[in-house]
Subunit: 344 residues, 2 copies
């Protein structure tokens, strides 16, 4: 169907090897040969067959992006589009392509083993793995270069890029405390996801740092999505109405902006004013966080950049197989808006 190196070689009056060398930008080619080859190759917009090239070279220049099962429902979260944009943008500039797998419950195992055993990709990015995701072990055992978006809690062979969820959460809760809020609740992310876990710990330790004891009644858990935040806030409100309860929280740290919008909606429904009756903080600084009612104080994390850095780190691991595991923490930033008010 398409032209082959052979045809180009004939046309240019050189050997197939030389054409290959020119196309791969290898150094030891005479200027003359190079010109001749490019003279026929450029106007034709010729690209060598990627499959044959992969087979011969032993590398595909493809990376896999795997978004595991339990979080694929999270795909309605603007987090993933941003991450994907970052990844594809790095791939474009480094001449890699990305294969996308949204791993489905029953299919996950099967997909992973296909990926790892069939040589479709040179490496893998795992987005938001669960804390106990077995996929990571498979990748490790099979020596597939991979980087995880989100740190691995225990295994230090895992390369990752993440933000400092623990300290950033601690910081923003500290900010609430300094504003004078005293019953600070949290709507945490899933405890089996590392970001959920770390932000929750940050919340707890911020309280402890002030000599306060985290009250389980002030901790609800959501799934990082809007509805989850809505339901979790309703739980918090219901608990506050129980006999013997200590009344409404005066502030809440919500572990994602999506959940925060759900929480705001629950508060609106309940006639509770923000920040007058309750301060609200989110996490992510999604584009919409500046436009919620009221605008959301939140923690900005560089999602697009995390994607790009993850990809670039993966390229490094692929191209230098002896690179030790890379653990990269990207900076966050506290963004103060109206939802936390002036304090009490």
């Amino acid at each position: 169907m398409s032209l082959r190196l052979e045809e180009i070689a004939q046309e240019a009056g050189v050997s197939r090897s030389t054409v290959s060398r020119v196309l791969n930008k290898e150094p030891h080619v005479s200027a003359r040969a190079r010109e001749r080859v490019l003279a026929v190759t450029q106007p034709l917009n010729f690209h060598p067959n990627a499959t044959a090239r992969s087979l011969a070279a032993g590398r595909t220049r493809n990376i896999g992006l795997v978004i595991p099962v339990a979080v694929s429902s999270l795909f309605t979260d603007p987090y993933f589009p941003l991450l994907i944009q970052g990844i594809t943008s790095a791939c474009n500039t480094h001449d890699y392509s990305v294969m996308l797998w949204l791993a489905d419950v029953e299919q996950e195992r099967q997909i992973i083993s296909k990926i790892t055993h069939s040589g479709m990709v040179d490496g893998v990015i795992v987005a938001s793995a669960l804390m106990d995701d077995p996929m990571v072990q498979v990748l490790l055992e099979d020596h597939i270069p991979f980087v995880q978006v989100g740190r691995h809690p225990t295994d230090e062979r895992v390369s990752y890029v993440d933000v400092d969820n623990y300290n950033s959460a601690k910081e923003v809760v500290g900010y609430l405390l300094r504003l004078g809020y005293r019953r600070v609740a949290t709507i945490a992310g899933p405890h089996n996801m590392i970001a959920g876990h770390d932000r929750r710990r940050g919340y707890q330790d911020a309280l402890r740092a002030r000599g306060m004891i985290p009250d389980p009644a002030l901790i609800a858990e959501g799934d990082f999505l809007e509805d989850g935040g809505f339901v979790a806030m309703q739980q918090l409100l219901a608990r506050a109405r129980q006999p013997g309860a200590n009344g409404l929280p005066d502030a809440v740290f919500v572990a994602s902006d999506m959940m925060a919008t759900g929480a705001l909606r629950a508060l609106r429904d309940a006639g509770i004013r923000v920040p007058g009756d309750m301060a609200v903080v989110g996490y992510d600084d999604m584009p919409f966080a500046a436009r919620t009612e009221p605008p959301l104080t939140t923690v900005r994390q560089p999602i697009h950049r995390a994607g790009a850095v993850a990809a670039e780190t993966l390229f490094e691991l692929i191209e230098n197989p002896n690179t030790p595991p890379r653990r990269i923490i990207l900076p966050t930033e506290l963004v103060i808006r109206a939802s936390t008010g002036p304090g009490v």
Copy 2:
């Protein structure tokens, strides 16, 4: 690194050809040979090298998903994640993989020609092409099987899946008219995107069908995103305040739910009540449409399904090269919620 067919063959006591046949589920293999092969292949979780297989077979079982430049900013729209989920899900069940390209301004040409000339994929899905996207011509000329999500306005060689944007828009505007609204405005999508174009025409013809003449002052254009809807609504309001204007619209058909949330925000800011002062209609029925304030009357379109159908159509085109162009229209549904009120 990995095992090859050769090793499996030796272990199973058959030839490499036979192993290949078993793995490819070809019919003419004796039960005995099949068993022997599977006996060694299954426990090992063996997968033949995808690259070698592609090269030998002349097909990759990969499809490309290309989201062109001008819409890649739209990637913050939940539309794309839903579409992608539909596509990957069909790919999983049909044993295809998807390669993802978000084509960037300068890179688009380059990416397309790499895709079409290097044989990385057997076909391509083009999501939301601009009406004059040159990529389509390239795909056509190079005889690459492809299907577009969104119809092509003129070229009947293009296979696509779409919804009936024109009639569904006409229908929902007709609904507003039957409710008694008389100054019905629209916030249209970009005129260079087919969906924006068609929904706008549907709006205009619904008015004409009632003997009304579309008033340019009642037509604003947005980019399908939240901010675009916000700005467009502000324009509409500003025009209504001009000297000689005929006052506020009493209803507005917004061409996407995202823009509708922006429009609602602009109305809230301006102290205009929905639906009391102005009825608002969206398009898409995104998950959040049921939770806006007030909940949004909208047109439900099956985005996830469109992705799956686009993929399946592409598989058909790939596997039966003589298939004539397929033009598939998926059904929409009018979803009535509070934002249009009981009528006047």
